[in-house]
């Protein structure tokens, strides 16, 4: 995960384009699409922190998205609280639920963690669906008021766009700061080998908790923004299918890469729009894509991109002889593995 020189400019340029888009077009289709991409990118980047960096595959993140969304919706509809307060409470509450879930589940290793998180995701979505007296169940939660901050009302698409862009940029900034820091490297070291990390004095459980809680906070934030934008909620947003979709976005874009979640979400969501008429069948295409990606492009588009950049100007003397190629393969094999013990 080295910083690719020049990418700073690309990011800056894209940022200004994003700022200017509502000025260039008022096509609501595109704006809506971008808003959705921003929202889901935030959630997927949360999944990326825990799965891609800390190496713990969590399938409960649609559930945390649901908690964030429903908390905001319920606070605004049933408690008439203001948008900002509701947003803050949603994020904090999601993080707290995340802390409790993390405390239990992060003691589990490898597959157990993934299975546990899958069950947790099912529980969260079932609770949201069945607890009708609170969430209105399958009827859905309607009539979430227009978000207002002070006297500014976010009633138009353009204003919503800027609101959500703000949080998207904020989330990506924090992600970047974390990933390119000692904290992010600590996560990666746990993904690489929990045993080695602990022998170097790293309290793996503490780091995994941090990664997990932060990742649920991102999912909760995305959920809350989603609720404030669409202004109605159905229990299906928390369904396990959504977790699988997020996983798809993450893998296509590149798990364990900073921009992978954004690239994957944008690309796959666009593709899905084209395949609108397929709706229920779109996984006929995306299922095999998921399989092909883990087989041939385990770090997705961004990973392949970084590989290209690295290989082109071959500055380093290439000393990979036969003996080392074995190691290299072992290394690539272990890239994605979460704290697998081989002692």
């Amino acid at each position: 995960m080295r910083f690719v020189p020049g990418s700073k400019w690309v990011v800056a340029a894209l940022f200004f384009v994003a700022l200017a888009i509502p000025l260039l077009t008022d096509n609501s289709y595109y704006l809506n699409m971008l808003i959705m991409v921003f929202i889901w990118s935030i959630a997927v980047s949360g999944m990326n922190i825990i799965a891609g960096y800390a190496g713990q595959l969590s399938l409960a993140h649609a559930g945390f998205f649901g908690i964030g969304a429903y908390t905001l919706g319920l606070l605004m509809v049933k408690a008439q609280m203001s948008f900002l307060v509701s947003l803050a409470v949603s994020v904090v509450l999601t993080g707290m639920v995340g802390a409790v879930v993390g405390m239990i589940s992060l003691r589990l290793k490898g597959h157990y963690f993934a299975i546990f998180s899958l069950c947790m995701g099912v529980i969260l979505s079932l609770v949201i669906e069945k607890w009708e007296s609170l969430t209105e169940g399958v009827r859905g939660l309607l009539g979430i008021p227009v978000p207002k901050i002070g006297s500014v009302e976010f009633s138009t698409l353009t204003s919503q766009y800027y609101l959500i862009l703000f949080f998207f940029v904020l989330a990506m900034f924090v992600n970047r700061q974390i990933i390119h820091s000692l904290v992010g490297r600590t996560f990666i070291s746990i993904r690489n080998s929990e045993e080695l990390a602990e022998s170097l004095g790293i309290h793996a459980m503490k780091s995994k908790m941090l990664a997990f809680v932060y990742s649920t906070v991102l999912a909760g934030l995305a959920g809350a923004l989603y609720a404030g934008y669409l202004r109605f909620l159905g229990p299906e947003i928390a369904s396990i299918e959504h977790a699988f979709e997020m996983l798809l976005y993450l893998l296509v874009g590149g798990i364990g890469t900073l921009w992978g979640p954004v690239v994957g979400t944008a690309l796959v969501m666009t593709l899905m729009q084209w395949l609108q008429s397929w709706q229920d069948y779109r996984m006929i295409i995306f299922g095999p894509i998921l399989v092909l990606i883990v087989m041939f492009l385990p770090h997705g588009i961004m990973g392949a991109f970084a590989q290209l950049k690295k290989n082109q100007p071959s500055v380093l003397p290439d000393t990979t002889d036969d003996k080392n190629r074995g190691i290299e393969r072992g290394v690539n094999d272990r890239r994605l593995a979460g704290g697998e013990s081989d002692a």
């Binding site: 974390i178 000692l182 690489n192 004095g201 380093l316 290394v331």
Partner: protein, 256 residues
């Protein structure tokens, strides 16, 4: 400095380490030898906190540390390398070593997000520590290489550097000379002497007897989990039980 009392580890019915009383003295090089499966690595795993002992006690600098976890042991100053060289794959040597010094830093999430003064100081400290230990092990040139692209012997050096980057008091080396040739072995012996001269306490597991006999101040011999002898290299090479159980044949000849 580090002392064990009747330390045992059973894996099911297998008594991998059986009631071992042992001591590592400050500033010395202590060696543990024994045939394959004798329980040497398991013993390291116990005193580095990787596995909890079945029974017995461990003391470090007078304090009981029996059930401390490995990250706590590392913080107290016990560093180790692994028999199968372990490094963080997919990262550069530098990135590996910076993580090695992470335990001496305090910055957390917010410090990293806002890049606080303390965070920046600590990151610099990690980087300086990394360069310093790399120079110490004579591998400065490798800083920006990916760990996958360096040779077996270089990986061994980097693994030692990684242990040193934690600012340890004791370094446990599990077969540092395994799988490297004679020249490289003598370089490694030099490095270990240099570590001792720098004031570190060292405990080493090794099958290469010649190297051990030259380096070690004291040797413990394990066989089937039991300590069968302890003493200076001279005493050990004359010890009948040891010769019978272990040294006999080729290894014996090699030792003289």
């Amino acid at each position: 400095m580090l002392r064990t009392e009747k330390l045992s580890k059973y894996f099911g019915g297998n008594q991998a380490v059986n009631s071992v009383d042992f001591q590592i003295n400050q500033g010395e090089i202590t060696a543990i030898i024994g045939p394959n499966g004798a329980g040497k690595t398991t013993f390291f795993n116990l005193i580095s906190g990787l596995h909890p002992p079945t029974s017995g006690k461990i003391f470090f600098e007078g304090e009981e540390v029996t059930n401390k976890r490995s990250y706590e042991m590392a913080k107290m100053g016990i560093a180790r390398t692994f028999q199968t060289t372990k490094l963080f794959a997919g990262a550069t040597v530098m990135e590996n070593l910076m993580i090695g010094h992470r335990l001496r830093t305090k910055s957390g999430f917010w410090g990293a997000v806002i890049r606080s003064q303390r965070y920046r100081n600590e990151e610099r400290a990690c980087r300086e520590k990394a360069l310093q230990v790399l120079e110490f092990v004579g591998a400065s040139a490798l800083a920006n290489r990916s760990v996958a692209s360096i040779s077996q012997e270089e990986q061994k050096r980097v693994a030692i550097a990684l242990a040193l980057s934690t600012d340890p008091k004791i370094v446990l080396l599990d077969e540092p000379a395994g799988g490297i040739n004679a020249d490289e072995t003598s370089n490694l012996a030099e490095l270990i002497t240099k570590m001792k001269n720098a004031g570190l306490t060292i405990c080493i597991i090794e099958h290469k007897m010649q190297m051990i006999m030259k380096l070690a101040d004291r040797i413990m011999v394990l066989n089937q989990g039991i300590k069968i002898a302890e003493g200076t290299p001279d005493e050990i090479s004359r010890n009948e039980t040891v010769i019978e159980a272990y040294l006999g044949g080729g290894a014996h000849a090699q030792a003289h």
